[in-house]
Symmetry: C2
Subunit: 304 residues, 2 copies
Amino acid sequence: MELRHLRYFVAVADEGHFTRAAAQLGIGQPPLSLQIQQLERELGTSLFKRLPRGVVLTDAGRAFAQDARRILRDVEQASEHARRVASGELGRIRVGMINSAPFHPLIPQVIREFRRRYPDVAFSLEERTTPGLVAAVRGDAVDVAFVRPIHGSDDGLSIETVIDEDMLVALPSGHPLAHRASISLLALSIEPFVLFSRAVGAGLHDEIVAACRVAGFSPRVVQEASQVTSIVNLVASGLGVSILPASMQHMHTDGVTFRPITRPVPKARLSLIWRHEDRDAPQLVRLRELIRELAPAPRRQRRA
Amino acid sequence: MELRHLRYFVAVADEGHFTRAAAQLGIGQPPLSLQIQQLERELGTSLFKRLPRGVVLTDAGRAFAQDARRILRDVEQASEHARRVASGELGRIRVGMINSAPFHPLIPQVIREFRRRYPDVAFSLEERTTPGLVAAVRGDAVDVAFVRPIHGSDDGLSIETVIDEDMLVALPSGHPLAHRASISLLALSIEPFVLFSRAVGAGLHDEIVAACRVAGFSPRVVQEASQVTSIVNLVASGLGVSILPASMQHMHTDGVTFRPITRPVPKARLSLIWRHEDRDAPQLVRLRELIRELAPAPRRQRRA
DNA sequence: CACTCTCATACGTCCAATATATGAATCAGT
DNA sequence: ACTGATTCATATATTGGACGTATGAGAGTG
């Protein structure tokens, strides 16, 4: 049996007339008769009662017509379904991000817009540290992740910079430097620092330490934290100063004052990573398109 | 798209390997590749990722594989469904019968056995008078009916005698004739009669009246009733005597005594009628087979 | 009875599914 | 790096079956 048989059968059932059904199908009446006979032979029962004028369905024909119509509809839907999955309209995407990512307005905006445009894509979100995210992407626990700069091998992963923002100095509000418009790193040389622990935030940790070295000193770290939100709170409690991505200003915590850094300004990069072999996965392509569309002008770099 | 494409696609998806799938399908690998390509072209998306060793499904392929498997199963089921409907295993049958039919043991037996054998045939039962049943069959309100003899045209209907039983005299229990072993009709000539009303039970009514005429008298009808059960009760209450199908003995009503009639014995025929055009409807054929199988030896007659 | 309508049958044609042969790409092993 | 094996893709030939044309059969209809 082929779908042709079902299509022809349904046409005859609808028309109640071989000749008209054949015309509607764009074939001749004799081949249509043959195809229906073939179907009846295969089912072992006649589907139509042949009358002097036209035909009517038998009981078996009526039963089969219902099924045939449903099957033809299902075939259409299956095609459409496959097309939608292929186009990325349907499916799932598992996104990972570091703790600090949602503080930059672009990230929630991207997520919101993605869910609006592709409501049939199951969207899951997970928060981990950068090394945890790299492992999660590698191990196929998430499909893509927003991470801070990665050290070490990234073979098998593709990476693309999404945001490259300035870092700011975060001071306890009562701090003597808090009234200055901007602060040079050197001015912080004697301050106690609260920093990312190197184990989980190596990228930004190293960026900050390197910037301080360039300014001529080595920061005195009195406390490490693995979450950027913890750092803000530790600064607020007066434990020390820190250097944080500009977007962390949006955390609105009392007791912390942010101030720009005089040049050279250390940068906080936020990048998207994914498995290179999945580069053409449609939802991934859609997400990258969307980021490119919504991201501010600053040219992002990309490497394989 | 044809079912061939789905069958081939599922085979490749199962095997993860074109060459092996082709062998399993009993065709060569190149035609299989072409058919899959054709399917992919129609869907506008690739279904497999071709690897150095074998192939794996893409996301769209995985989605389509589920649908394709379901569709192929549905096609199988639709065939089976049609076959079952055609064989009479599945469907419905609407049966009508007169009030007196269930008193003959054959009728409940036939109904019980039919439902046991064909549990997937929806069975409905309706009780009417003989003329009402003839109209119901004609008007397609029921498919088949057990009726008493019909007068008048029966064109378009087929009829087959199911039971041809003797009639008995029904007397009030205290009646002087009740002690006799058998009774001649002539002995009833002066008795008041309770009979079927001619309007609804013309067949038996006329049979009885004719038998009396042959015996040499015309029965004095004091009461008519349209239901055989009512007649039994009227006789029990002493209103008169009646002549009833032998099977009515099974009604076990106190106050009524049944006695055989000396020859010639009037007969009560119970017949099955159906629309002639539906003679080949499978459930109808099954029911007639069953009756023939369970009916006692007496040869039944049949006319078109 | 002639005529029409409709589906079935007979037979020829042609396309498309299949077979055969070969190519291209990748990988394993020497 | 080269060779051979594996596997899917491509090219060309073959053939079965779907389709078209012509005609028949049966049942109304005027």
